[in-house]
Amino acid sequence: MAEYLASYFDSQWHWVAYALVGLVQAGLLLALILTGAAVFIWMERKIAGRIQDRLGPSRVGGRFGWLQSLADGIKLIAKEDIVPAAADGLLFRIAPYISFMAAFSVFLAIPLADGWVALRMNVAVFFILAVAGLEVLGVVLAGYASGSKWSLFGAMREAAQVVSYEVPLGLCVVVPVMVVGSMDLVEIGRAQSGWFWQWLIFHDPFTFITFWVFFTCALASVNRLPFDMPEAESELVAGFMTEYSGFRWSVFFMAEYTSMFAVSCLAAILFFGGWNGPIPLATMIGLTPDNGALTEWLGNLLGMMNLIAKGFFGVTVMIWTRWSLPRLRIDQVLTTCLKYCIPLAAAMFLGAMLWLYAFPGGVVSRFVQTSPVGGTPTPVAVVDGKGGV
């Protein structure tokens, strides 16, 4: 896109084109996740209300209170920004932005459709794990710099929780990477094109279980109930956010909802076909690259809507879980991770590896002889010695 735009400029003005393209892409991503965060907060309150037999927000913006998040945003921006006297001012001020930046940067590497990705990397999965792990830095700094007991407790719990859950999360992510044979998320998405039985979650029983372990660990790594340790409203006031108010407080919330959406999108790409629907609708009505650039674009648009819908569904399940399950204690959280999630993830890793060795080419595609555009998943169990992928 940058080269295309730059061709309209004189050579000495190429830098303007590159800057414009960069700004537009960053702006689009920011628009997606900020609108997403606003919708998720409204959704959370609405779903929470319904689960608790209340109405939830119902006044602002008409019948469903759908402008509630906007009203809250205006209120939060207008509120006073308080820094406690005992706090470390610089770190206290900067911490929310670190969390948000980490959550936002994940979207750099998440493809929204086939090839529609801000930064295509051949190690996108690894990049996402590395960047998402940085969110803990903001939380720990916030907890430490607040100069408050509740904040420090929250930060310590976050540290213990996130550092332990990164291990099973990484193990779970390796399984789809191994099945497809690539860490490039675009490749992983392409490998699942076609009907829903091409999705990696239905690839074999081990990937099926892996997804649930992944989802549990993802819940823990984004600090959602039942793993809501750092915040724990009923024990720690508000955990690491106790001393925050106004805009900085809302930045923490935007970071939380952004990372929820990010792990949902990641789960959708790794296990649920990404932009490939349950039914290959785009292929059926001819929206493929073979029929020209416009149809390819329309097909990608459909795929992006598909992926975003899957991400929304993931966030909805997270909200549903939050209002259905009670909070675990911190020792139970760590027990869940170390005694259940890690052994399960390790066993699934081994199992998936043996399965790939036993059935190279998959089981389902052996019985269901469909060959959608893009081909069936090509598992790389025994590397051919020419670079594998």
Partner: protein, 215 residues
């Protein structure tokens, strides 16, 4: 008319380099231990930005995960759990400064000499119009190399070299076991030093006298 053009690659290179150097110096000059860790994180993060800029996505992500993430863990478990007072400050003596300056200066001299002596690392202005930047490598050969399959040596004449004799699996495993031993040892050492009565009790008297009155 070249003055109007901005080379974004150079711009971001200089930006990341500046950030890395500035915060490295800031880390040296600061005495607040958590701020030092924070500056170190920013400096290391900027270095990973340099890696991404060079097209080395894998190394950049590794830098983020190992160095930046590792500093966070060091900050949490090394500093916060062992600190006896909140907002701990560290004083560095003159002798330590002098020693560190000598060692650091020597290392800098060696590295600079080495870096400037390699022709391929010269800035693009010395090489020509189009610097040879390629992003076609994947991480797969690296992983296979760790497993003992040297993809880059397939053209090797010698059969023993071609068949993965030069893999890195054994050194890799030895380093892993070594690290595990170090981790267990560190956990054991940290464990014996803990006082049983007051895990974080120090904070109460110094920071919040009002709350500590309820004790």
């Amino acid at each position: 008319m070249e003055t109007a053009a901005i080379n974004w690659h150079s711009f971001f290179f200089l930006l990341f380099a500046l950030v890395a150097c500035t915060f490295a110096v800031a880390m040296l000059l600061s005495s607040n231990i958590v701020r030092m860790a924070f500056y170190l994180v920013i400096s290391l993060g900027a270095v990973s930005g340099l890696f991404f800029l060079a097209g080395a996505d894998f190394v950049g992500a590794l830098q983020l995960m190992i160095y930046v993430g590792g500093t966070v863990v060091v900050l949490i478990f090394g500093v916060m759990l062992t600190a006896r007072a909140p907002f701990l400050r560290m004083r560095t003596g003159v002798a330590q400064w002098a020693l560190a300056a000598i060692v650091g200066g020597c290392l800098l001299a060696v590295l600079l000499q080495a870096a400037l002596s390699v022709d391929e690392w010269a800035p693009p202005s010395m090489v020509g119009e189009n610097p040879p930047v390629s992003n076609t490598y994947t991480a797969a050969p690296l992983g296979l190399g760790v497993l003992g399959v040297r993809v880059d040596q397939l053209d090797e004449e010698d059969a023993t070299l071609r068949n993965g004799m030069s893999g890195y699996l054994l050194p890799f495993e030895i380093v892993s076991i070594h690290l595990l031993v170090v981790l267990i040892g560190a956990a054991y050492l940290a464990r014996t030093k803990r006082r049983p009565k007051e895990p974080t009790g120090d904070r109460q008297e110094t920071v919040e006298p009002m709350i500590s009155s309820g004790k």
